[in-house]
Symmetry: C2
């Protein structure tokens, strides 16, 4: 079977961030010509060390998806555009909603316009969030579930998704949208706890500190290991019939925060679980239980998440034990 | 029964436009202190003649909802903020999506932030569009209907609505959102045909020209006369239990474009119906039949639309016969 990414030209927005850098490493391994664009906005996860394994094998372009002049060039000749750039911090989105709108919505429009005018045949894969659903009215959450976001970050993701679909439906672009569950693994920022809860718990364990579980820790989340997400992104990207639609990505399995913290302590052999009260900022944007219904992407692509939670945690612990100094200072 | 608007302080964004100016006239009649803010963006309907009946009785502030410095002052001391300002042209939103996003989403955020910091007790009434639903999957369309907009204008309205609800739910503001059907009547712009189809049909009739009905004219719309909309806006604004939610406003009755054009010709005694092919730009953003399910607002407020289509058309024809020169040149 032919590897569809061999010699493919790929642009990854947010390419120095968590998912973008892992995707870049995977695509270089598959023989793709990979260009990364990243604005290196502080606290958002952009980190040159993330692409150390493919140093010199990817093109790094420091710019911003809101910069139309840059984007008009960067999209040219690309077969695939993985659009992962975004303001990803829920808490920041409530403190600075206009910046969130600017990056996530205007940035997406600039990218879509750049493709429309310079490369209408590009395949665009947009990474949205399960936050687009808001509070779950049933579990697991399928793609027909109501979308009532509880924070600005989730609204701007939903808006960006709908823009991709309008450009697909009306302007003839090829766009497909994912609503991605909580994802964890190597190369996530570890500087602060404002997003990426599982990775933060791992930092606390590796520092042999208390892992702060809000409330009784009974709220369920669906935690996906990043390598499974990469498989999903590549599966969707190479399924022509998938374009023009929206797909959940997750494991389909709910894990409570308490169980998560206990598992991390057990795998790492360090840290301890501590129950703490919700902060106001967290409580405000906490939508409650979430478990993804992943039948739609499974049926469309044959993709399945294969890495058990414990194994994903083990790999993540191993990565940060080795490279901790590149991610946080003790 | 006390008139709740007597001596009330009211801000109307987009106050020199179609709905805003009609609302201003009504509120002055009810004894309110009315301030209008409008950016007078060309082709969007802002027209000083619109407020001729209340000249000297309202405060007119030329500025832009995107201007935080203005908005921080304008919201102060207001009991009600009717947020009607917006880029309202479907066709323009596809040509210049970034401007549409900027006005409709950033502008709404600036207004919400202004209220949050300067007047958190203001009651905010947001005027959205039935376009937020996109293609109808059932008729009549209730508020639980899926929201899959077919154009950028409808997306940015949906986004603004969700922002109002997040500020209501999370930041403690009082916000209520309407999804308004096609509305017509006096004081609508008559310079071009890019939005406001019923008013445009009336112009063609008054110029004794052909009224251009796209295709076979069988598509259904729900046409609301502006005075009925004003009653709905005031009813929602003064129903405390309505805040934090979304309400359709319409008549609940579907009229085909063909029947509409024939009715206008009959009422005006001028013009003629002509069937013309869809333009590409129109076809792109045409969502098909729409009829509002208005039971939710009826149950919440007791409001009912009372003006028959023919009567609304008669009043509109009369207005433009008298004041044509202020709206278009023959």
């Amino acid at each position: 079977m032919k590897n569809p990414f061999e010699n493919a030209n790929v642009l990854i927005t947010g390419g120095l961030g968590f998912i973008g850098s892992n995707l870049a490493i995977r695509l270089v391994g598959l023989g793709a010509n990979v260009t990364l664009v990243d604005n290196m906005l502080p606290r958002q996860g952009g980190n040159l060390f993330n692409i150390e394994p493919v140093k010199g094998k990817v093109h790094v372009n420091f710019s911003d998806i809101r910069n139309a002049l840059s984007m008009n060039y960067l999209v040219q000749g690309k077969d695939y555009v993985f659009h992962l750039a975004g303001q990803v911090n829920h808490v920041d989105s409530m403190r600075n909603p206009i910046q969130d709108l600017d990056i996530n919505c205007k940035g997406t429009l600039v990218l879509l316009e750049a493709c429309h005018h310079n490369n209408p045949d590009a395949r665009i894969i947009f990474a949205g969030t399960r936050g687009e659903y808001g509070k779950s009215v049933h579990l697991p959450v399928d793609e027909e579930h109501p979308t009532n976001p509880v924070g600005i970050y989730a609204i701007t993701n939903l808006t960006a998704e709908k823009m991709v679909l309008v450009y697909h439906n009306v302007k003839g672009l090829q766009g497909v949208c994912l609503r991605i569950t909580n994802t964890f693994g190597p190369r996530h920022q570890m500087m602060h706890d404002e997003y990426g809860v599982l990775n933060w718990f791992i930092r606390k364990a590796l520092d042999d500190e208390a892992i702060p579980v809000f409330g009784d820790g009974a709220i369920l989340r669906d935690f996906l290991y990043v390598d499974d997400l990469l498989d999903g992104l590549l599966a969707i990207a190479t399924t022509p019939g998938a374009y023009g639609d929206v797909y959940n990505v997750g494991t389909g399995r709910g894990i409570s925060f308490r169980e998560l913290a206990e598992t991390i302590v057990a795998v790492a052999g360090q840290g301890r679980v501590a129950h703490v009260p919700f902060t106001r900022e967290r409580k405000e944007v906490e939508p409650g239980d979430y478990v993804a219904d992943i039948r739609k992407i499974q049926e469309a692509t044959g993709w399945n998440p294969g890495i058990p939670l414990e194994e994903g945690i083990r790999r993540t612990v191993e990565f940060y034990r080795k490279y901790r100094d590149h991610y946080w200072k003790r």
